[in-house]
């Protein structure tokens, strides 16, 4: 068991203009489950490999416990890793795969047998010990990889997208299992994924990265509700947060935000959270609205009228429980620049005619072509600096 400290970690490759990883500093507590998440190429795997000793460190330090391990070979760092491909030894039985770290460490035969049995029991692999990995299902292989990692009782687990090769259903199941095993063993774990659902459900804390730069480290709730910037806001949540350019107005009624034709009153609760908003009165800002904070006003007759806007419904997607209504807002949408890869949620148009996605209740009668009245839970509005993208609050 150990803490892991990353101090100003940097990785640059010869010939690359931008460092693959710049100035990454995270303190990971003993027994903590930290998820490194971000789009492809954000540097999360590089960071993991540097911790594991599989990549050279350009500058900065990696500490495990109190020990700077920069110059330690992988095998001397007391860590175990689960690979995306599982990297099982195809010529060995399941037993030998799990036992391999102990065999290398020259642990006694009986001790090995006992511990493999123990791990196999935990992972429900007992019937398969004599099989070769080639004869196992994806989930079983994944468990063998886990078994090989946990048998050595290392100080730190590193997991590199360990569930991404599983089908959707199995992934959900294994997600819970992995998290449960980690809690049981209470081993410090660093888990890399590009799947925000894994990040949100498994981690004690989530570290979101982009282009080699850490964006925010926080608990899943905090990162969802208090995103540090527009990138975090747009990345976490599905469908993504709606982000629009708006103008802050101040009049007798208090602070209002103007989004195209619509004007919404910003309640005190929001102003309290985003304490810098007041300083930006009469200027352009970025407003973030989570789809679930937008409801069909027809279903909420008591909703304050100054927190409602009207917009034409361009498309309604029914999810059964909810109706996702795409409404046209006459405000410019924010495009979060990134190599978005498969995260289409992040891509937005710069059109004046921005699309805004609202999660209406299934009771909603709004249909395509209707002009709907949308009730906005304005106390949960998010505000960002239009130049830097940072949240308008003290951190």
């Amino acid at each position: 068991m150990a803490t892991v400290s990353l101090r100003n970690l940097k990785k640059s490759y010869a010939g690359a203009a931008q460092p693959a990883l710049s100035d990454l500093s995270i303190e990971i507590a003993d027994g903590e489950f930290l998820v490194l998440v971000g789009p492809s190429g954000c540097g999360k795997s590089t960071a993991l490999k540097m911790i594991g000793g599989l990549e050279d460190i350009t500058s900065g330090e990696v500490l495990i416990g109190d020990q700077v391990v920069n110059d330690f070979a992988s095998r001397d760092r007391d860590i175990a890793m689960v690979f995306q491909s599982y990297a099982l030894y195809p010529h060995m039985s399941v037993f030998d795969n799990i036992a391999f770290p102990l065999q290398i460490a020259k642990v006694g035969k009986e001790e090995i047998a006992r511990r493999v049995q123990e791990v196999a029991k935990t992972l429900q692999l007992e019937p398969y010990l004599q099989r070769r990995p080639g004869n196992l299902s994806g989930g079983q292989r994944q468990r063998v990889a886990m078994g090989r990692a946990i048998i050595r009782r290392p100080s730190v687990f590193l997991m590199d997208e360990p569930l991404s090769n599983l089908d959707a259903k199995l992934r959900v199941k294994m997600r819970a299992e992995v998290a449960q095993i980690q809690r049981q063993l209470a081993v410090t774990t660093i888990y890399v994924t590009h799947d925000q659902v894994e990040a949100m459900t498994m981690g004690d804390r989530v570290a979101l990265m982009r282009d080699g730069v850490l964006q925010q480290v926080a608990s899943p709730d905090e990162i969802y509700h208090d995103p540090a910037n527009t990138f975090v806001a747009a990345f976490i949540g599905s469908p993504a947060m709606n982000l629009f350019y708006g103008t802050l107005l101040r009049d007798a009624g208090g602070i209002k935000v103007k989004l195209g034709d619509a004007t919404l009153t910003v309640p005190d609760a929001a102003l309290a959270k985003y304490n810098l908003v007041r300083d930006h009165a009469m200027t352009d800002i970025i407003v973030g609205l989570r789809p679930e904070d937008l409801e069909d006003a027809a279903l909420q007759p008591d909703h304050p009228v100054d927190q409602v806007f009207e917009a034409q419904v361009a498309l309604v997607e029914s999810l059964g429980s909810d109706h996702m209504a795409h409404v046209a807002l006459s405000a410019p949408a924010v495009a979060v620049e990134d190599d978005v890869d498969n995260l289409e949620e992040v891509s937005m148009t710069g059109d004046i005619q921005g699309r805004c996605i609202c999660r209406f209740s299934s009771q909603s009668k709004a249909r395509k072509g209707d002009v709907a009245r949308v009730a906005v839970a304005c106390e949960r509005l998010h505000f960002f600096d239009p130049k830097t993208g940072r949240a308008l609050r003290d951190t």
Partner: protein, 311 residues
């Protein structure tokens, strides 16, 4: 019961055997260029045909029976076996080692790889001739070079001593076939996922353990392929011997292999006399050699395959 199954729909047969139509063109080709000549050769091997004229009679398996006590056949086969074992050891050590070095992607790797593979694509007859010239005690480069670097005691009449002539054959064959072992092993090495080695490193293995316990076992298909190819290649070797030491496997048959023996027996090794030519006997030796080699190959593949990874 029988009655019910009797009126089979006519498509039943074609359902079961219809796919054979697709094999037919290939089979016909195989029949024409392999099976028929083989059958013909087998027929010839049961006669006493010298290769000239139409004077022949059926002798049954007499040729085969004679081979069993024909000393030159065993002498030649023994030389083939020596070459096989030596080349096998060479390829699985030096060849593998060079492949591992190349797999580290050194600078100028393309260059090294090309240079090491070059002998394979060069004609053995041409390179064999160059080797004869280089090794010649009279006009060759090798002896003067050895003397120049202080290894004069190694200089010698390589090809005319029975003790070293076979070693030279092995050396030239090894030099020539090294490219194969490197390429086959290199492709095997490149098929070993990087993550497997990283996983082993994580699991505490040092470089040597990673290689022998994780990487090397992944190479067993390459090992099998190479062993079988080497076996076939060394037992049908002919050109190196023919060029380096002539059809008689000089000196005094010290390098005579099955290839040269069969050639001599079937076609003659002298320009002045065809008295010793026995075509049918040569064919019998070739066929016997083929059958024995096929059996050994089958055994080799069975043994080696069982060690490979399934799935």
């Amino acid at each position: 019961m029988t009655q019910a199954t009797l009126p089979k729909p006519p498509s039943q047969f074609s359902l079961r055997y219809g796919h054979l139509w697709f094999v037919l063109p290939g089979f016909l080709f195989f029949l024409a260029v392999m099976l028929l000549p083989l059958a013909f050769a087998f027929g010839v091997s049961m006669t006493n045909w010298s290769g000239l004229g139409n004077d022949l009679s059926f002798v049954g398996l007499a040729n085969y029976a004679e081979i069993l006590t024909y000393y030159p056949f065993y002498r030649a086969a023994f030389h083939n076996a020596v070459i096989f074992i030596a080349i096998l050891i060479f390829q699985h050590t030096i060849g593998l080692y060079l492949a591992v070095l190349l797999n580290e992607k050194p600078r100028f790797m393309q260059f090294y790889r090309t240079v090491l593979f070059l002998p394979v694509i060069m004609s053995l007859v041409a390179t064999g001739f160059v080797w004869t010239l280089m090794l010649s005690p009279n006009i060759g480069l090798v002896n003067p070079m050895l003397e120049a670097i202080g290894l004069g005691f190694l200089a010698g009449q390589w090809l005319s001593q029975p003790g070293t002539a076979l070693a030279v054959i092995v050396f030239v064959t090894a030099w020539n076939s090294m490219g194969w072992s490197i390429i086959i092993y290199l492709s095997g090495l490149q098929n070993v996922p990087e993550e497997l080695k990283q996983a082993a490193a994580m699991d505490g293995a040092n470089t040597r353990q990673i290689f022998w316990r994780v990487v090397f076992p992944q190479l067993s298909p390459a090992f099998t392929a190479l062993t079988v190819l080497t076996f076939i290649g060394t037992f049908r070797t002919f050109d190196v011997v023919y060029v380096l030491t002539g059809p008689l496997g000089a000196p005094n048959f010290g390098t005579d292999v099955l290839g040269t023996l069969i050639y001599r027996t079937a076609f003659g090794g002298s320009s002045f006399s065809s008295a010793e030519i026995r075509f049918a006997f040569g064919v019998a030796m070739a066929l016997l050699m083929m059958v024995v080699m096929a059996a050994i190959c089958w055994g080799l593949i069975r043994i080696l395959r069982s060690r490979e990874i399934e799935g």
